[in-house]
Point group: C2
Chain length 341, copies 2
């Protein structure tokens, strides 16, 4: 009170009870009489008491802080995932601490350090594109702090993961293009060390083969699948002796870059070149024509990740069996791939 901060000691003094009683009353301990609880609560609000998370965390060992590491929050996908995480986490009394790796491994590492220093109760993360070694994540696991990875995951056994079925998403997308009459479908793929791109590539390939179309090396272009990469990729594809009649990109940004190039060259979309992206970023609905894309069930993904984290926290002592959750993506068809039949 003196310096504006009320503690449980102040409440205890006023009520002639001990701090431990106050603490228990506030946390709704069964052994405390409801009479005492009421008195404590009233005095607490009267004195404008606020629970000091820090002090509680020091003794109890848990901060009720959940760390979230994302490549970039301004990707609609990631921010939606965060929304899902927040919904579940707050419900369960956890505060969420978001940080961004900016797809940089060093930053990712320092994010993890910061979180460990802040004693977060768990970490939910999606790995930076650039990251190829996972010692920093392994450290989290070794310290027995619940870790849940989503979307961009790594091949480590003791981690729970939530991903969409990238294979299926790609397969659906390519099948759709074939259904629209496309026969020469190119693919803009990302870093092969990230599973998402690996699986999407497989889905692409299998869809082609299952429909009796050949898989051609020159039709698959690897990059970081950013806007510029999409532009470059499209240029490259247009320079081929036999041009593709469709492009399936592993990211909406790459697809967008491709679209820009096509427009600059006055090629008709989807008649001369159909396009499909991946992520279903909101701008896909704004551009002209709308960009067909694979939706990644972002909020669900976040909710699942948070729920798994909670389970893992609850199973504290006992061994927790890491869960792998796979969600089914949805193909959102827009003008960029809808050919008049």
């Amino acid at each position: 009170m003196a310096n504006g901060k009320t503690t449980i000691y102040d409440i205890a003094k006023r009520l002639q009870v001990t701090p431990s009683t106050v603490s228990r009353a506030l946390s709704n301990h069964p052994r405390i009489s409801s009479k005492t609880k009421k008195a404590v609560q009233e005095m607490a609000s009267q004195l404008n008491y606020r629970h000091n998370n820090i002090a509680a965390a020091l003794r109890s060992g848990h901060t009720h802080l959940l760390g979230v590491i994302l490549p970039k929050v301004n990707r609609h996908f990631f921010s939606s995932v965060v929304k899902g995480i927040e919904q579940v986490a707050r419900e369960a009394g956890y505060n969420v601490m978001i940080t961004q790796s900016y797809d940089d491994t060093a930053t990712e590492r320092s994010n993890i350090s910061a979180m460990l220093q802040s004693q977060v109760d768990g970490i939910i993360a999606s790995i930076a594109t650039e990251t190829t070694e996972f010692a920093h994540f392994q450290r989290v696991i070794n310290e027995n702090i619940p870790l849940v990875l989503f979307d961009r995951v790594m091949e480590i056994s003791d981690v729970s993961t939530v991903v969409i079925d990238d294979y299926q998403g790609a397969y659906k997308a390519v099948s759709h293009l074939i259904g629209q009459g496309c026969r020469r479908i190119a693919h803009l793929t990302g870093e092969p060390h990230l599973n998402i791109y690996k699986y999407r590539l497989r889905g692409y390939r299998d869809a082609l083969e299952d429909h009796g179309l050949p898989y051609l090396e020159e039709m698959v272009i690897k990059s970081q699948v950013q806007l510029e990469d999409g532009r470059a990729g499209m240029e490259q594809l247009l320079a081929l002796a036999e041009r593709p009649d469709a492009v399936f990109a592993s990211s909406d940004y790459a697809a967008m870059g491709a679209m820009q190039v096509l427009k600059e060259r006055n090629l008709k979309i989807p008649e001369e070149m159909a396009l499909v992206g991946f992520m279903n970023e909101p701008f896909t609905a704004f551009v002209e024509p709308g960009l067909t894309s694979v939706d990644q069930m972002s909020e669900e993904m976040g909710r699942f990740a948070a729920e798994i984290f909670l389970e893992q926290v609850q199973a504290k002592g006992k061994a927790f069996v890491p869960r792998k959750t796979v969600l089914t993506p949805e193909l959102i068809i827009r003008g960029s791939s809808r050919k008049a039949q």
Copy 2:
């Protein structure tokens, strides 16, 4: 060590010194000999020691946590601001805790509570659209916790703020349209209780009047300036007896909605209707034609906000004079307003 956690006590024991010496050695206290410091540091890394922020915070009173409250992280503007904040904050040894209000006052209030409970050393925030009473922010100020507001600020004296010159941004935008030959310029404006919209409206008005054009009530449409609002606003404007020949929207989303309607009706942009937005979201560059927009200097804004926060922290004891910082916005001209001369 026993349970994987090394403390300064473990280090002290190994080195036959006291924990206080270790603490001081680690924090580079001038009174500790460099010999001891070296020994402590080596032992620390050997034992894999990690500083426990929680314990330190409890005693020292500062958590080195900076809370940031944003309406939505997936707005490119806000995420850029965060980037700026992070740059400065991390440099100074602060971790950043981001939360979203989703433009909802209740959520905003609970965000603040959560942060106060977590004992953040300061809060940087942009107010939720919906918020009209500021008691929760006032509480932060009353508790003497540094508060810096940016972009969406409120009329309270004891707060530092960072904003762009919204008036000037609007003025530039409208003058540009007039320069392109537009004579009947409509305006999509937002909630008048938010300064940003109020000032933009004034800039719009003054630019018209300074160029000898009339300010017409029916040309100003108030809404939440989201995509749908832009659509509705455009419909309304097109229904006027005398249509406008340009629309200046206080948000890119509203401008985008307007653009969609224009395209659906096959009206030419910018010939029949020029468009200018506000925010310079990335999609403005993707759409066809590119959307002219006012850039808000987002990263700078974040950096300034963080710097002011730091100053305020440093000035701990003494009275800190709140600073109002105003940045100059930049008009990014794209196809939606560039008429062939």
